[in-house]
Every structure is written in C-alpha cells, then in structure tokens.
C-alpha cells in the first residue's frame, strides 16, 4: 500500500487518542479527585492491563532481538544507509505534500457539490484505506506501464511511446498520492462537513466570495488537522513496501523497508537489515512524537447538515474539474485491474491448486488476524474506557500504537530473528507469526475505531449506568455491543482487508507451501506471468471491496438482532 500493506489509515486515523477530558467536559474524567462517575470495572482494567503488558513485552522482544543481532559480527555490508534514508525521506516528503494538496482540493470539491451518487463517490475514496498497495501499483502499470493503456493508445494514434512513467519515483509518488490523497480527502471532508451551520449562515449573509469563504471558514476548520494528518501520511509513505517493491524499478529508488527485505531474502545480510531496521525505527519514533503533539485526527461519520450555499460559477467549475480528475485518477487503476483480470481470464488461475491453497491461506490468516485484533482491541478499549486515571489510560493505550514505530517488515524481521533464536523452523512458526504480526499491525486502527465511541458513551452515560447499578455484562451486552455493532464490523473489515493485502509480513515468512494471494501475485510478477498476476489482483480487489462494504453492515444487523 501507499504506506504499507493496505493500512492506509481508516475512518479514524491511528494517532494516539486524546486522554484529556477535563472538569466539566464529561461525567467520567477530571483532575485531582476520585472518579466515582465511572462504573467500577476492575476485571476489565485488569485484563486490559495484562494484555497491554503482553503486547509491550512482545514489541520489546522484537526490538531486543533486533538490537542483539546488531552486535553480531558481520562481513562488510554494501548497504548505503544515508542514500536510502535520503531517498525514503524525499519520496515520503513529496508524497505528504502532494497528498495533502490533493486531499484538500478534493475535500473542498466534495463538500460543495451535491449530485446523485455523491455517497458512492465518497465511499469510493473511503475505500482507499483498505485497497492493497500492490493492487494499485499493478493498476498503474496497466495504465502507465510500457504496455499499458496510455502507451498502446499513444502508439496507435501518434506512433510513439511515452516510455514507462509508472516505474521509478514518479510511479511511486503517483501510487502513494492516489491512496494517501483519497485518505486525506476523507478526513478533511469530515472536518468541512462538521462546520457549524450558524457559521455558514453568517458567512452567507456577508456574501463572502469563494476565496474568502475558503480562507475564513474552510481553512481554519482543516488547518488543525494538517500537521497530524501530514505526519501520518509521511509515516505511511516512509514505511511503504509493496508499492516501492513493484514500482521502484531498481536500487536507485529503494526505500529502507524494501532494502530490509532485500537484505534478508536476497542478500542474506542480516546485520545490514538490522542496521536498516534501527534507522527506520528511529525516524518513525521521531515522526510519531511530532504527530502525537498535534491535534488527534478523528473523523466524523455522517453527512453534512449544513444549508446549501453554492459558490460562484467559476469556483463550481473548478470543483467539478477537481472531482472529475480525482475520481478518474483513483478509479481508473482499480478499473484497469478488474478489466485486466477479466480479459486475462480467471480460468487459468482458478485451475491451479496453488491458487486455491493460497486463497484458503489468505482467508484463514485474514479471519484469524481479524478475530484476534477484535479481541485485543475490545479488551484494551473497554479497560481504557473504564479507567478514569490518566496514567492508566495512557498505559493501556500506548502499546497498541507501537506498530507505528515498528513497521511491517521491521516487525517481521524481529519475529524472524526471535524464531531463529528459539531454534524453531521458520516454516513451522510462520502461520502463527503472520497472524500475530498482522493483528499487531491492525491494532492501532482497531483501537482508534472502537476507542472514541466507547469513551464517548461512558462520558455521556457513566452516571446513568452507575446509578442504575448495571453489571459489567449488562453494560456490554445491552449498551456497548449494540452501539459498537457497526464499528466492530468496520474494525473486522479493516483488519481482514489489511491482512488480505499484506505483503510486508508474509514476504519474510512465506515459503512454497505457505503463501497468501499477494505473495502468489508477487511471485507471478517475478516469473513474468502477468496474466496470472492480473487475475489475482482482480480477485484481491473484489475480496477487499466485498469485505469492506459487507462486514460493517452484517455486524450492525447482528448487533441489533441479538438484543
């Protein structure tokens, strides 16, 4: 994915949650006095604490294994870390700037325009968060590659080819901006939609021009989100793996994440990989520290209820143009993946036993990861919401965000070293490790999805729940679970889709007998079986869309039917 393996943020971006309701803000929290407005749930806090400690311990073990390996004697490594760091930072910085610009323009256009199918278009951009990066990369190759649609049309019409703009830095940036720009647009659109109707009425009565409206109303609404959002996009691009792997086009555009993979799988240079991993962790940790100081990026569900206030015609024309370009830019690669898949024919792939085995592995790993993520996220967020003590809330919240500092390939490398140190065969440990690693990678998104509604519910109804003397089970079954039904579905969909599109973890642990669909697709590309890759990409895309659209609806129904 742009930032990794489909983890393009979510409806709620994974920046550590604010812990800071103060006196007067809600029933549950305040400084310097005993919290009696929260229902006492010691069992929840105890379970949550144990899990938080276990996760922190696991991450510490990963880091320790990496640090320990760093001290091992090694032959001279040819890895040029300053060059890799410079290249990674340049592409991540450019991705961040371009994605924010695209995101702002698209959010502005979507906020203003009303048309049939608008919800579908907004939903399309929301789906960017789970679209596997390698599917988008493949789509770009279909359109902009040497034998892509554009070149075929250019040769047919004008007799010359445009070369291969899908490869190299331009391709990487394009793929990242498609995914991260759509992600930014969804977050910023929520900010614009949340502008109070009264402010818009005042602006409209003052007859503000489109420019004045943007400067005086829109910009202040979006401004506070930009540093946090920018940091997340930088981080996602900095740790991007499959897009750089597929579109990098050689060592010149390699990033740290891809270099780690190459060092382990191709060069067998573990010491070099460890040095790269430590560099990666250090940079990510600094960016996270900067991000956590900024306003949390929290998206808001629902549509704008603001009154209609159309901009002048030139601004409207610009909005339509932005929307058209963005929709075509985002939808075209995905459409090409589907068309190429159909044209290539699913029959050849479906006839391979390896495909069915890979599909089953993907579904089993994805389902197990999603369920494990749900259990971990529920336990952590229920415990966190039950506690009024700020240090406890931070303790319970922080470990789940560790992934942001320990990206997929680094986490995978850590597990790889642990398994090696334990003397367990990699193939034997692979399924368990891949499930745990994918769960940890999805956990920050899951906690960011379930945490805010739970916190809000306890803040608003803590006194009521306590005065009614509801038991912990009654509180969960009657109040929390029905409210969380859709969020649980969304969270499961995110975790499942992330795992379904993952290449970063499986890349180090995959074998001939243990491969998922993305790994099978990657190997098909490596073996120049592009028809097989096209069919697998289309199947991955269809699976992702079905899961992302279907699971939240299914769980909302189940949650309401179960009462």
């Amino acid at each position: 994915m742009g930032g990794g393996d489909g983890k393009h943020g979510t409806v709620v971006a994974p920046v550590p949650l604010s812990n800071s309701p103060r006196k007067g803000e809600g029933a549950g929290w305040s400084m310097g006095r005993k919290m009696l407005t929260l229902p006492p749930r010691p069992a929840r806090i105890a379970i949550s604490s144990l899990l938080a400690i276990a996760i922190a311990g696991l991450i510490a073990a990963v880091l320790w294994a990496i640090l320990e390996a760093a001290t091992e004697p090694s032959s001279a490594s040819r890895i040029d870390i300053p060059h890799l760091l410079r290249m990674t930072a340049i592409q991540a910085g450019l991705t961040m700037v371009l994605s924010l610009a695209v995101g702002m323009a698209l959010a502005w256009a979507l906020n203003r325009l009303r048309f049939p199918g608008r919800d579908l278009v907004v939903g399309l951009f929301a789906a960017a968060i789970v679209t596997p990066g390698m599917v988008v990369a493949f789509g770009l190759l279909s359109i902009w590659g040497r034998n892509g649609w554009i070149n075929q049309a250019s040769e047919a019409l004008f007799g010359f080819s445009l070369g291969n703009p899908a490869f190299g830095l331009s391709g990487i940036l394009l793929a990242h901006v498609i995914l991260d720009g759509a992600f930014a647009a969804r977050i910023l659109l929520a900010r614009l939609d949340a502008i109070p109707a009264t402010r818009l009425k005042v602006g409209q009565s003052l007859a503000l021009s489109a420019t004045q409206r943007f400067a005086l109303i829109d910009w202040p609404a979006m401004r506070s989100s930009l540093p946090g959002l920018g940091a997340i996009i930088f981080l996602l691009a900095f740790t991007s793996f499959p897009i750089v792997l597929l579109l990098g086009g050689g060592p010149a555009n390699q990033t740290l994440e891809v270099a780690i993979y190459s060092a382990v799988r191709l060069d067998f240079d573990l010491a070099g990989a460890v040095r790269l991993a430590l560099t990666q962790i250090a940079v990510c940790a600094v960016v996270i520290l900067l991000a956590s100081a900024s306003t949390p990026v929290v998206s808001v569900h629902g549509r704008s209820v603001a009154p209609r206030w159309r901009d002048a015609l030139p601004a409207q024309a610009l909005q339509w143009l932005v929307l058209l370009l963005a929709t075509v830019g985002f939808a075209l690669p995905l459409l090409s993946v589907l068309i190429d898949g159909i044209v290539s024919g699913f029959g050849r792939v479906l006839a391979q036993p390896t495909f069915w085995w890979s599909l089953a592995t993907s579904v089993v790993i994805g389902s197990a990861s999603a369920v494990l993520t749900l259990l971990l996220a529920l336990a952590l967020t229920l415990g966190r919401a039950a506690s009024g003590e700020r240090p406890v809330r931070i303790l319970l919240g922080t470990p789940s965000f560790a992934y942001l500092a320990v990206p997929a390939v680094v986490l995978s490398l850590g597990f790889f070293l642990i398994v090696r140190n334990l003397g367990v065969a990699t193939a034997q440990a692979a399924p368990v490790v891949v499930i745990i690693a994918n769960s940890l990678l999805a956990l920050p998104f899951a906690v960011a999805t379930l945490g805010p509604p739970l916190d809000a519910m306890v803040r608003a109804r803590g006194k009521l729940i306590r005065s009614l003397g509801l038991s912990g089970w009654q509180q969960f079954w009657k109040v929390e679970y029905p409210l969380l039904g859709k969020d649980i579905g969304l969270m499961l969909a995110l975790a499942f889709c992330f795992s379904l599109g993952d290449l970063g973890v499986i890349a180090l642990f995959g074998t001939q007998d243990f491969q998922t669909l993305p790994l099978m697709m990657f190997r098909a590309l490596g073996a120049y079986r592009s028809n097989d890759a096209a069919a697998i990409a289309a199947i991955l895309l269809i699976g992702t869309i079905l899961a992302f659209v279907g699971l939240p609806r299914l769980f909302e129904r189940i949650a309401h039917a179960s009462r």
Partner: protein, 212 residues
C-alpha cells in the same frame, strides 16, 4: 427525612469551597435554586455519590448514605437529557431498572404497568431515539417508578421541554412524589417550576444553602 449537615467539598485547590446543609421530607419536593456555576450540580453529585465529600453527614431516616457507592444508594436520577439509551426501546430502557432475578414474564408485566402509569403504554416498543423530549422523560420516570428508590434527584429535568409538555411532566413528577413518598430534590433556575412543585426551597450562593 433526608438530611445533610455540613457536607463539604472543593475541586482540587480551587478557592471555592462548598458547605451544604439541608433537609428534605418524604412525599415532597425540595427545590434548590441558584445562578449558573453556583454549585447546584456539585450538590446533586455529592448526594448521588459521584463526588466524595471532605466531611459532613448525609443520612436518610438516620441511615448514613455516605459509605454507599452510587449504584447502591437509594436514589434515582432524572437529568435534563441523556436519561435513556437511544438504541434501546422504551420497554428495554425501563427494564434496566428491574431488580436482578425477576422472572421474564413478571418483569414484562411490571414494565408494562409502570409505562401505563406514565401514559406510555402504546409506545413501549419504540426506540428511545424516536421519542419526543416529553416522552423520554416519561420513560425515565417509569423506570424511576419501577426502581422505587426513596430519593429522586432532578437536575433541570424540564428545561428541554416546551411549555405545554413541561406542565404535564411537572404535574406527573409532583403526583408521583406524593403518591410514592419520594424525597424529591429539584435543582432548577426556573422560578415557575419551583413555584409549581416545591414545598421547601433553598437558595444556593457562595457555596452555601440558605432557606428561601
């Protein structure tokens, strides 16, 4: 009789300290009025157990309430809003007030009975989100009836209602207080609510209650 004597409290190191003393009889409404920020909600939180006083006593018919946590204090709450869980039906919201271990059929009968008493028997299966403000307060009152606790704390319960509904709900509260023998404490800054319901009233200013 519900009696508080020098119930003292302060938020952290804030200069403002509270020292509450009052009496409230059974079957009557005791009103507390005061300016915004004068500490009316703090007083209710102390009575309900959401805040722990630094010193003082709070007793119901001589029984000390202070050691009891909020969930076991003999009281019910009726706030301005957020009294119900919006995703549950009126019936389900009321049923949350049933004591543990009540058989299903008996529980249903009791819920239907109290809903009937507040005039909502036709809306039992409607979700709370679809009810009007007045209907929501009736549901909360039905649950209060079902729980049958000796104290009812009212925190601006009529503020979100239109005039007509306000008078109806106000009358219902007065009637139930008398018939059930509740010690009802009404916090409000609406003079007409207080005049219509209260048999005893206090004014809250500078952290102290004075009979008005």
């Amino acid at each position: 009789m519900l009696r508080a004597e020098h119930l003292a409290f302060a938020y952290g190191k804030e200069a403002q300290t509270y020292d509450f003393s009052f009496e409230a009889e059974a079957g009557a409404v005791t009103a507390i009025s005061g300016a915004s920020g004068s500490g009316k909600s703090t007083l209710l939180d102390l009575i309900a157990g959401f805040l722990a006083p630094k010193s003082g006593t709070l007793a119901l018919d001589g029984a000390n309430l202070l050691p009891l946590p909020p969930e076991t204090r003999p009281l019910s709450l009726l706030l301005q809003s957020d009294n119900l869980f919006d995703h549950l039906s009126a019936h389900e919201n009321v049923a949350l007030g049933l004591p543990k271990g009540v058989a299903k059929i008996e529980g249903r009968r009791r819920v239907e009975e109290v809903l009937q008493r507040v005039g909502l028997d036709g809306l039992a299966h409607q979700t709370a989100a679809t009810l009007s403000g007045g209907q929501k307060q009736r549901v909360a009152l039905a649950r209060t009836l079902l729980r049958d606790r000796a104290i009812l704390l009212l925190d601006e319960p009529f503020s979100a209602l239109d005039d007509e509904t306000r008078q109806v709900i106000r009358a219902l509260v007065g009637e139930l207080t008398r018939s059930e023998g509740w010690h009802t404490i009404l916090v409000s800054h609406h003079e007409d609510d207080i005049a219509a319901l209260a048999t005893r009233r206090y004014r809250l200013a500078e952290g102290r209650l004075t009979p008005a």
